[in-house]
């Protein structure tokens, strides 16, 4: 039976009476899927997660996790969820192993069970060799993995990941995705995650919701969202000096044809792989020769652009800066 593990209904959080961080958000997450919130810095992703994980109370609306109300049954919720926050929360002055044991203590897991589990988790995220080193010696990727391990110590049925690869370089990011996928298989969890990386949403999520200014703009699988844009972009040139726009427009699946200044045609079509041969066929049967052709699939960036009117890239710089600042803050924590 496929049931909804997370159900949010009109979830709203207003800060200081005026700042609407999350604005009547409704969605549901099915068992076993990875559901992602995709949106720029300040969109309200962390605030949404904080409400779902019972750290913040909603100003309005409600949500439940595995049937437990996040306000009235907060303690039940806390027992069945795991959380990997956007910051590195592991204690730098403690070792990796000590950090996991601390998490286990907070869940009240018996020491013996906790010890076994900590070692198993450290093995799983390939930190076993570093378990007795202080976390301050860990690299960014290792810290992320440690956070993942901490979030799993209570064997959660629902895992929350807030920007799981924030601030990591491209290779480490891809490796972290692999860990996430592997852990999900291993522990049969449902995952709710947030990200502002389009590739990440594409690589990990079964379904995403694009969120901006606290509102969900659109929900669907990455494929659906991309297809909804009206399909792929085909660019074609012919040898002859004639206008073939009409010919192309009559081909099945073609939605839009624009003749460009350089004489090529820019075609928007659903199912690009199927449509492209049809267009070539149609042109050839009329005696035209195709000289050049390209097919590009729309990315989530195009989706994002379509719905918000801006590109995701615009917001990324400030994000990294923000993260760098956090790291500096950590260092400043000398006492």
């Amino acid at each position: 039976m496929v049931e909804n593990v997370i159900v949010a209904d009109g979830l709203t959080r207003i800060f200081n009476k005026t700042l609407v961080a999350v604005d009547h958000v409704s969605f549901s997450v099915r068992e076993g899927e990875i559901f992602g919130f995709l949106g720029p810095n300040g969109a309200g992703k962390t605030t949404t997660i904080n409400m779902l994980i019972t750290v913040l109370k909603p100003t309005e609306g409600s949500a439940s996790i595995l049937g437990y109300d996040i306000v009235k049954q907060a303690n039940n919720v806390r027992k069945v969820i795991g959380v990997v926050p956007q910051e590195y929360t592991a204690d730098e002055d403690l070792t990796g192993y000590e950090n996991i044991m601390l998490c286990a203590d907070l869940y009240g897991i018996p020491r013996e069970v906790a010890r076994k589990r900590a070692l198993e988790l450290l093995e799983l995220v390939e930190l076993a060799n570093f378990k007795d080193r202080k976390v301050e010696t860990y690299s960014g990727g290792m810290r992320r993995r440690l956070e993942l391990a901490c979030g799993l110590v209570n064997r959660p049925r629902v895992l929350f990941l807030d920007e799981p690869t924030l601030g990591l370089d491209v290779q480490t990011r891809a490796a972290t995705w692999d860990y996430i996928k592997r852990l999900k298989e291993e522990y049969e969890m449902t995952i709710f995650m947030t990200t502002h990386y389009l590739e990440e949403a594409d690589a990990l999520c079964n379904r995403i919701a694009i969120i901006d200014h606290g509102k969900i703009i659109v929900t669907g699988s990455p494929e659906e969202l991309k297809n909804a844009l009206g399909g792929d972009i085909i660019t074609i040139s012919i040898k002859e000096d004639a206008d073939v726009s009409e010919v192309i427009r009559n081909v099945e699946h073609v939605k839009e044809v624009v003749k460009m200044e350089n004489g090529s045609y820019r075609i928007k079509a659903e199912l690009g792989e199927v449509t492209t041969p049809l267009i070539i066929e149609a042109l050839r049967s009329r005696g035209y020769t195709v000289t050049r052709l390209s097919l590009t699939e729309p990315t989530l960036n195009d989706v994002y652009l379509e719905y918000t009117g801006k590109t995701m890239r615009d917001t990324e710089g400030s994000r990294e800066e923000f993260h760098a600042q956090r790291i500096m803050l950590r260092r400043a924590r000398a006492r």
């Binding site: 019972t54 069945v80 969820i81 956007q86 929360t89 907070l106 869940y107 009240g108 064997r155 929350f160």
Partner: protein
Amino acid sequence: MSGNNEDYGPSLLRGLWALTVRELKKWLNDPIMLLMFVLQPLIWMGLLGKSMNLGAMFSSENLVNIPIPDKIPVPGDYVTPKVEGYVYISGSWIHQSLQRMFSDIGESVMKNVFGVSDYFSYMAIGMISMIVMTTTMFSGMSIVWDRRLGFLDKVLSTPVPRGAIIFSKVLNAALRAMLQATVILLLAVLFGLRLSPTFNMMNILGIYSAIFLISIGLSSIFLAFSLRSTRLERPMQIVSLITMPLMFASNTFFPISMMPNWLQSVAYVNPLSYLTDALRQLTILPLDASRILVDFIYLGVFASIFSLIGIVLSWRYLTR
């Protein structure tokens, strides 16, 4: 492999212990901190306790330049038995007697003002108060970091009782303060602090109780304040703003009776005065039962009111 749906009970004590141990480990693992921990009292004791040797003001060398004529004429009416005319007393004899009397006077002036004859003992105990105060304020404030670095939110997402989070900070503050007080007292004894002859195990228990009371009051109020202030630096600024006045408007380094009236009234509500007085009575002064009772009642009331306010405000923040 689905070990899901387990029902282990997170308990207040378990959580409290885990969070407190974390803090203490962080603290004790830091070599610089440990160095400071010993160096700071050493510097204070050396500079203030030993260099500001108030008793030495009354030593005979300080009479050297006081002009005393060689022969001092005394009208015969003033000597017994009375004589006609004048008698003459040798200046050097006057000088010698003055010197002798002066050091006796010094001793009693010190005793009247400070209760003990050496300022070092007086000051060393004051320093315990001072360090207990700053340590507990800073421990309460350490939650600023937990909040800023996301650790607090993570802990809040676990089923650990909210009380464990608050009490771990308060307990940690008290434990640190007690440990520091112990180290300072040991150092002070090493450097010549004279414990009163009646000093025993009960006194040690009393010292710890007094420190415990002031610690929970101060740390919970600072905890609430740090949780609620929107800016990270704010609590730090407040601490550096108030520690000096609190210290000097109390009997930490100087007796209240010597202060101007307006300052006395501040010193009499300042909990630090009561802590310091209790500590001195338990270490270097003869114990005065009614006075120490007043000290403990005041500290108890302070601790109850401030920790209640602090805990309620913190609680409200944690369940916002």
